[in-house]
Amino acid sequence: MCGIVGYIGRRDAAPLIVEGLKKLEYRGYDSFGIATLGRGIEITKHQGRISEKATTAAKLQGKTGIGHTRWATHGIPNDANAHPHTDCSGKIAVVHNGIIENYASLKRDLQLRGHLFRSDTDTEVIVHLVEEEYAKKPDLLSAVQAVIPKLEGSYAILVIADGENRIIAAKNASPLVIGVGDGEFFAASDMTPVIEFTERAIFLEDGDIVTLAKKNIEIFHNSKPVTRPVELIDWSLEDVRKGGFAHYMLKEIYEQPQAFYNTIRSVDPKDLPEKILRAKSITLVACGSSFHTGLIFKYLLEANCGIPARLEFASEFKYFPGPVNGLVIGITQSGETADTLAALKYAKISGCSTLAITNVLGSSVTRVADTTLFMRAGPEISVGATKSFIAQLAILMQIVNSISETKYNDVLQQAHKAIEEVLLMDLSEAVTACKNAQSIFYVGRGPFYPVSLEGALKMKEISYIHAEGYAAGELKHGPFALLSPETPVIALCMPGDTYSVMISNIKEMKARGAPVIAIGTAGDRELPDIVDIFIALPKSPLFIQILTSLVIEQLLAYHTALTLGRDIDKPRNLAKSVTVE
């Protein structure tokens, strides 16, 4: 998991690449580096975040350059392992996103032939291989073309060489976008670094090798020239900036009403493919937060439509015998989650029809799945998913609405207003109760069980407070032993089927001395008297209760993390999308 940026054109490459890499930090940020074609190949690389240490990098000379922000997979994060990597002579430089699976044997052979390795990375084999080919025939394009067949695994690479005023790019199973400007080209892991300069993009296919020169681009597939369509990207620059918000996460939380509304409007129930509407059974594969949206969907689908739904972690899916028929839905915000991609491929081989739900146009998952539904959340930069989560739910709720006999059109059309409303709520009391806790429990029943799971995930990932979500009834089967006055419980207690049994669960928890923060609805007469802190959501139908309580949990996690001074947008040890298994 890494981010790469390349530039060739009329401007100074280094400062532009530095800015681009900053935008890609969500893909990894343990080290970074830049190489430019100045006086020979000029390189700077460091351990640490580019946003903190970029000052020297921007001074490199040259109008052509490549850069990399790293998420360590092979070799610890340090200066030597940071990209770009160079060949023995220092005349060729490469940046790489992905994993070269056969690097160990390639490296052994190269070392036997006298190559000197300076890092522990898999990437370095690429540049030494290119060096060998380049020595035979000094043409960078044919050198890269000769090397690519030797590589197994996933890669998006950018290569430059001293004396060759061009960038060679190649892609297989890792994302790479080409931005087409006027007399300049960009290459990047996604559109965020590019969008400031051009809206025209080419999404490459696996196996493509590209040569970018100042004035022209050539794309080769299996050594034959091919053309790929230039697509217009409608994300505005404002979308990829933090604006005046303290954190991307807060910005993205506040964008949720619009994200939900846009997504609902973009998925017309009449346009949904037959195979979704007529599915006899649905299997969902997802990871992380997307797994929780899947679980909410399972509750809503089974209750409203009587269609059995199965949900598996994408990373575990391959260990189960595949479903023989039915529909498999993969949910991934980035469209690059390796496990979800693998699970969908596996489902396809097993003969299932596949549907992907993703936020990123042109991402890898769109090429794997038979059909793709796009969330209209816009780019999400914060590592903790917020607006993409709400947008995923918009799609899944729209699917339930389309299949179900009972129609929820009005509810879904109104939901963004309810989300806007809860953004005004003051949670300071609850934040005070949570900020000093060692452990927090989230409990709910029915669809509020996955809501609890998500609440706990948000809390632990950004505030670093240990938090667990449980189905309220399960607490008695063990976790009760952990309850004490130091463990706040966040209880989701909405009017409906689960209300009365939740009330008795809450009373049991209170009896064990745990402070209870209840998320309920306005006008509840019983709940405020038995809990310590009562958060009243406006009265609303079930679908909206789910959405609004999720937003409250996000805000609670955000403000708790803020009080504790955490690095909210980039929590320690986490990356935005997980592109390794």
Partner: protein
């Protein structure tokens, strides 16, 4: 040149419309007031714009992020006055600069007139000067400035728009810019008064209707939605994307209608009306001299005149508003006013409800039928 727009204040006197936005973000002719200020600066070639946000800063910032023009955002954590707000932006100020309130309309020509004069105030006559900083003039120079005096010595007031030098910050003493200005005058500095052409401030919520009338008059017409062929349109009318207007609806401009609205059939929209996005007007309803904000629904056979309706309101059929004059107490002052009604966000009322010269808070529910409301109702009330 740089410009600092002050948009941190809540604007308590425009209750109940400032629940989820500061006064600068209230939509007038379907755009937040601050957008007109930014536009006017743009027209004068001023590109470096700093906005001080505070109250409901997330909502303001979200809006500013969506604008085409890049705007820098500075946060004032506690609203301690205009001078304090300006000090929050001090680290960003490089030279001469303008200060403008984000919640007043100003025309671009007036800005052009003041921007090149260092140490100048835009001034304007106002019939109720006691609500403003009153300025005393002599030969085009300001001799004194008094903030909100009980007995105003003149009808000339400060618009809150200043052209200042970077060293102004060293003159700041009290919490308000006016304090600093009067200090400068006492210290013998020359402060020039420049008359403004068109400046609009809404002190109370019903004043927004006048501002709305003014801003609608300069809006170019446009037609993007689906308008039935049997609709009759006179004058300048803007219809947003995705809006559907049913047959036999009569619209007399100036009128602006946002996106994704459903109107009619058989509605009548009279001049000086702004309708937000996703608004529903059921058949046989008449609107005029009104601001209707986003996501509001109005039932059939209603008559909504001289009224501001907040977001997400649901008014049942046969709702009626009568314009009347009366005395009203807002923030401790008693004011004479004449208007129909001001409704906050998320007000729900039953069929045949009648509103007469009243201010209804946010999240108010008026249950049952045929209620007659002629008094102010606080936030969150349930009227049975």
């Amino acid at each position: 040149m740089q410009a600092v727009i002050l948009a941190a204040g809540e604007g308590k006197r425009v209750f109940p419309l400032t629940r989820n936005r500061p006064k600068a973000m209230i939509p007038v002719a379907n755009h937040p007031i601050i957008e007109y200020v930014i536009d006017a600066l743009q027209k004068n070639g001023i590109r470096e714009i700093i906005v001080v946000v505070g109250y409901r800063k997330e909502q303001v910032t979200r809006f500013l992020n969506g604008l085409e023009v890049p705007v820098e955002v500075v946060v004032q954590n506690k609203q301690l006055g205009t001078a304090h707000a300006l000090q929050c932006a001090e680290p960003k100020i490089k030279g001469d600069f303008l200060v403008l309130p984000g919640d007043n309309y100003i025309d671009p020509q007036s800005i052009a007139r003041v921007m090149d004069i260092p140490n100048a105030i835009l001034v304007k006559e106002h019939p109720n000067p006691s609500n403003f900083g009153v300025v005393l003039l002599n030969n085009g120079l300001v001799t004194d400035i008094v903030e909100k005096p009980e007995h105003a010595p003149s009808f000339m007031v400060s618009t809150g728009i200043y052209s200042l030098k970077k060293n102004f910050f060293s003159s700041i003493r009290g919490n308000d810019i006016t304090d600093a200005i009067s200090g400068m005058i006492r210290a013998g500095e020359r402060i020039t008064a420049v008359p403004a052409d068109d400046w609009q401030d809404a002190i109370f919520a019903w004043d927004l209707l006048k501002m709305n009338r003014r801003l609608l008059s300069s809006l170019p017409p446009a037609r993007e939605g689906t308008v039935s062929r049997q609709t009759i349109i006179h004058g300048p009318v803007r219809v947003g994307k995705g809006t559907t207007i049913g047959p036999n609806t009569v619209i007399t401009g100036p009128v602006v209608i946002g996106n994704d609205c459903t109107i009619g059939p058989n509605c009548c929209i009279m001049p000086d009306t702004s309708i937000g996005s996703r608004v529903n007007l059921d058949p046989f309803t008449i609107l005029g001299e009104a601001i209707i904000m986003d996501d509001t629904s109005i039932g059939s056979h209603s008559r909504i005149i001289d009224t501001v309706v907040g977001e997400r309101c649901t008014l049942a059929d046969h709702t009626s508003v009568s314009t009347m004059a009366g005395l009203m107490e807002i923030e401790g002052c008693t004011i004479r006013s004449e208007f129909g009604a001001v409704l906050g966000d998320n007000v729900t009322s039953g069929p045949f409800t009648v509103y007469k010269n009243c201010v209804i808070g946010n999240n108010v529910t008026i249950e049952g039928q045929e209620s007659i409301i002629s008094r102010n109702i606080p936030d969150g009330s349930m009227v049975i």
